[in-house]
């Protein structure tokens, strides 16, 4: 299973990004291989409009199953829901690793 988290930096110690569509990077954690991948979001980030929905499209194409994010706009959320990606809300200001821990503990609620 793949879990995506918008991030300010490029590894699991980075802080989560409060923004979804205009996040710099996404960290994608693969639970099967226990590995991390960085997905750069610069192209979607700099769109005039539609950053949210385009980022959702990118994540779907990466075969992500779960998204942990602080804020996802209504349009992007609609796209994610239609592709059966589960979106959980995380608090801002925490690290990517902490977000994953909260998810594993079952401490997060669906957006």
């Amino acid at each position: 299973m793949k879990i995506a988290i918008p991030s300010l930096g490029r590894d699991k110690t980075s802080l989560v990004n409060e923004r979804f569509g205009r996040a710099e990077n996404f960290i994608i954690y693969d639970t099967t291989s226990n590995s991390y991948e960085v997905l750069e979001n610069s192209e979607n980030k700099s769109l005039q409009q539609g950053s949210g929905t385009q980022t959702a499209e990118t994540i779907i194409k990466k075969n992500v199953n779960v998204l942990l994010a602080s804020n996802v706009g209504p349009k992007a959320l609609k796209v994610l829901e239609l592709s059966n990606i589960k979106v959980f809300t995380i608090p801002s200001g925490i690290t990517v690793e902490k977000a994953l821990n909260l998810y594993n503990e079952g401490a997060l609620t669906l957006s």
Binding site: L47, Q48, Q49, G50, T53, Q54, A56, I60, K61
Partner: protein, 295 residues
């Protein structure tokens, strides 16, 4: 003045900065002139000419733009439409795309690039045009629906309401972005309504650059003379733009305006001021048209 049948005089009132008096100058001038004329209120996000041209709506038409209608049976989810879409109104990941109509500008590009013709013409209403008349002035007001991102298509449709002959005034939107470009595009003359404030002149400079690019002749009106400390005359000399009229900073004008009245109907002094300006303006426009024809 207007002998040929396919010959109209299109004069746009623009300002760059908002609130300098485009509507006020256009309406007062229109009322003081004896000519029959058509007024197009292209400030479709806040059309207010109708407050002053009283009368009921004689005609109303809805304005719709293209919106993709996707044949989900036919679509193979190739994603070419979504890739092409500049506004990113289409999202696609291997299945028929999801469309967010409110993000679509109606360009129709998705329909053109679809390799299997799975996109048909749909439509979406973005606003309406209302017609009013006081016998002398035929007013067409564009009204964009709340929440629409771009009023350009509505302004474009509004421009088509101009008759082929006679005098046409355009009340342009403030600013210098796409809707303004559409309102000024192919006008015969632009009246720069400005004020002697730092903001007034700063935005005026941007507007002058735009009007030059559109290759339209222009003249300026100093509205609320005496309010600001900048020197408009000196500023205009640099650009070789004539100053056609100076309207004093007079509370009486605002008192009338705030009650939905025009100063030309209340004070004969101002009626003659605007009439003189209007006649001068028509001469300038005639001159500009002749020069254009020669080119």
């Amino acid at each position: 003045m207007n002998n040929s049948k396919e010959n109209n005089f299109v004069i746009a009132f623009a300002s760059g900065k908002g609130g300098t008096g485009k509507t006020s100058v256009a309406l007062n001038t229109a009322k003081s002139l004896l000519n029959q004329l058509t007024l197009l209120d292209c400030d479709v996000e806040e059309p207010n000419c109708a407050i002053f041209i009283k009368g009921e709506v004689l005609e109303e038409q809805k304005v719709a733009i293209f919106s993709p209608s996707i044949d989900k049976e036919k679509c193979n989810g190739c994603g070419e439409c979504s890739k092409f879409c500049e506004r990113k109104a289409l999202v696609c990941w291997g299945s028929p795309p999801i469309c967010f109509p409110e993000m679509c500008s109606g360009c129709g590009g998705c329909k053109l690039v679809c390799p299997i013709n799975a996109i048909d013409d749909g439509e979406r209403i973005i606003g309406k045009i209302e017609k009013r008349s006081n016998g002398k002035i035929n007013l067409f007001s564009g009204i964009i629906n709340i929440g629409e991102e771009s009023p350009v298509s509505l302004v474009k449709r509004l421009r088509k309401m101009a008759p082929k002959s006679g005098l046409v005034f355009i009340d342009a939107p403030p600013g210098t972005s796409c809707p303004t470009v559409m309102a000024l595009h192919k006008a015969d003359y632009v009246v720069l309504v400005t004020e002697e404030t730092p903001f007034g002149l700063s935005d005026l400079k941007i507007l002058i650059d735009l009007v030059k690019k559109l290759n339209i002749k222009m003249g300026a009106v100093n509205n609320r003379k005496g309010m600001g400390k900048e020197n408009l005359k000196k500023f205009l000399e640099k650009f070789e733009i004539p100053l056609l009229c100076e309207i004093p900073f007079d509370k009486e004008i605002f008192d009338a305006y705030s009650q939905g009245e025009l100063i030309v109907d209340k004070n004969p002094k101002y009626n003659s001021l605007f009439k003189d300006f209007g006649l001068k303006l028509l001469k300038e426009v005639e001159k500009a048209k002749k020069e254009n024809e020669r080119q």
